[in-house]
């Protein structure tokens, strides 16, 4: 038992540190890629190719004064950044990042926790993300924050429906909710679920962009109309917590997409962990690409798109997949 706890603790610490480093460097990746898409250079002064920029940003945020305006609700105001950051990290608890391996004579599984309800866990934790946004918006005591928080919580719950439903197709094919088993079933590139669930993948990724409040669905922080949205009144580490949470959410969504649709760590030649990283950063690239390409939706267009296009499509996808699985299995 002690051995299990020690191995788990080491794995947990490794994953937390790796995820946080990836978050920090995703900010640099985003700034660089968007800069190149707009014919600019992006960060170049802090280190070669701006490689020290994330560290400089972290130090700057650490040294910033933490302003707490008079009108805030103290408890919820303090709680909101934590509620926004911790859930985004917790998704990684069930994401298989490698095959099982042996290290210093100990057998180590390639996942922190192979819950048999892994997929449900992902959606439960994603649902928690709404609390961070709505509490931050409400407790800040600012009109901008309130409007931003209300808007983005409505957006997040609307897209959460299609987010959940887009996965049902994969579960129908996989017959399990365990992430490890789902990866195990995609052992060659032709059995990746993206080929059997193309619509499911597109729906999933679209909803993931909306869930993480990213462009073109970034109503939460539409600078031109809402100043900063729900984090208008936040500064210093509390702001950093929201910021890192957003990137952790993007990484988590990419990791879940890679696991469910792109075969997770499966791949030829390269070690499993490298494949997983490649697939996750492919997802990140799409997130950034979308931001560099598409203009922001108007709010009514966004809600219409969620309820009148994505949701019926997700229902249809579920039913058609059910029918096809039924017909090909030949059970009655």
């Amino acid at each position: 038992m002690l051995e299990v706890i020690i191995i788990s603790s080491i794995k947990v610490l490794t994953v937390v540190i790796v995820v946080l480093t990836c978050c920090a460097y995703s900010t640099l990746l985003e700034r660089k890629l968007v800069a190149y898409m707009q014919h600019r250079l992006g960060p170049i002064y802090a280190g070669p190719w701006g490689l020290l920029q994330p560290i400089a940003d972290a130090i700057k945020l650490m040294f910033k004064e933490d302003l707490v305006p008079d009108r805030v609700e103290r408890t919820l105001y303090t709680l909101a950044p934590i509620l926004s950051f911790v859930p985004s990290l917790l998704v990684f608890a069930v994401v298989p990042f490698s095959s099982d391996f042996t290290l210093f004579g100990y057998d180590v599984t390639g996942v922190i926790s192979d819950l048999n309800i892994g997929v449900l866990w992902v959606f439960m934790i994603t649902g928690f993300g709404v609390y961070g946004v709505v509490l931050a918006g409400w407790s800040s005591g600012s009109k901008w924050s309130l409007l931003g928080g209300i808007r983005s919580s409505a957006q997040m719950i609307s897209y959460e429906l299609s987010y959940g439903l887009s996965i049902v197709g994969v579960i129908l094919l996989a017959n399990t909710l365990s992430m490890t088993e789902i990866v195990g079933q995609q052992d060659s590139i032709f059995s990746w679920y993206i080929f059997r669930q193309p619509l499911g993948f597109i729906l999933f990724f679209t909803c993931a962009v909306a869930e993480t409040n990213r462009a073109p669905f970034d109503m939460a922080e539409a600078e031109s109309e809402l100043v900063g949205g729900y984090h208008t009144e936040y500064s210093s580490m509390r702001f950093a917590s929201f910021f890192v949470g957003e990137y952790a959410n993007m990484l988590a969504a990419s990791a879940v997409a890679a696991t469910l649709f792109l075969g997770g760590w499966q791949g030829p030649l390269l070690p499993p962990i490298v494949w997983m990283m490649l697939k996750v950063f492919f997802g990140m690239f799409i997130f950034i690409w979308l931001r560099g390409t598409l203009p922001r939706f108007r709010y009514d267009q966004l809600m219409n798109f969620g309820w009148k296009v994505l949701f019926p499509l997700a229902l249809l996808n579920t039913m058609v997949t059910g029918l096809i699985v039924m017909l090909t299995n030949g059970t009655n």
């Binding site: 937390v16 004064e65 911790v86 990290l89 800040s140 009109k143 901008w144 609307s158 959460e160 229902l315």
Partner: protein, 117 residues
């Protein structure tokens, strides 16, 4: 059980990281508040009226519709897992279930609930 223990460890590590970074930042940062600085941001004007203003009541209706359909989605997960053993009867039943809810959405749509003007 050890699977959930690992999740618990992960949650502890996540909360721990936040508290540690907040703690370090607390030691490093300056603390110099004064009344003008602590005023709620409202485009550099004095704040007008209460902060908790009225907002469009459609948000409530969307929340209500969300609850209905989210429960539906939760019902679909166990069905999808056990689908291999359930066969045709379950498919027909779930299709009926989805249809009823879909007509509910359609009704709300036609009633103009989903409209933003």
């Amino acid at each position: 059980m050890s699977e959930y223990l690992a999740v618990l460890l992960f949650a502890v590590a996540g909360i721990g990281i936040v508290l540690i970074t907040f703690g370090i930042s607390r030691l490093l940062r300056p603390h110099n508040p004064y009344p003008e600085k602590n005023v709620t941001y409202e485009c550099a004007e004095e704040t007008v009226g209460p902060s908790w203003i009225q907002f469009n009541n459609r948000f409530y209706i969307f929340a209500l519709i969300f609850v209905i359909f989210d429960v539906e989605a939760i019902f679909l997960f166990p069905w999808a897992v056990a689908f291999g053993q359930l066969g045709l009867f379950a498919l027909v039943e779930v299709t009926l279930f989805l249809m009823i809810l879909f007509f509910g959405l359609f009704y709300a749509w036609k009633k103009g609930v989903l409209k933003w003007v």
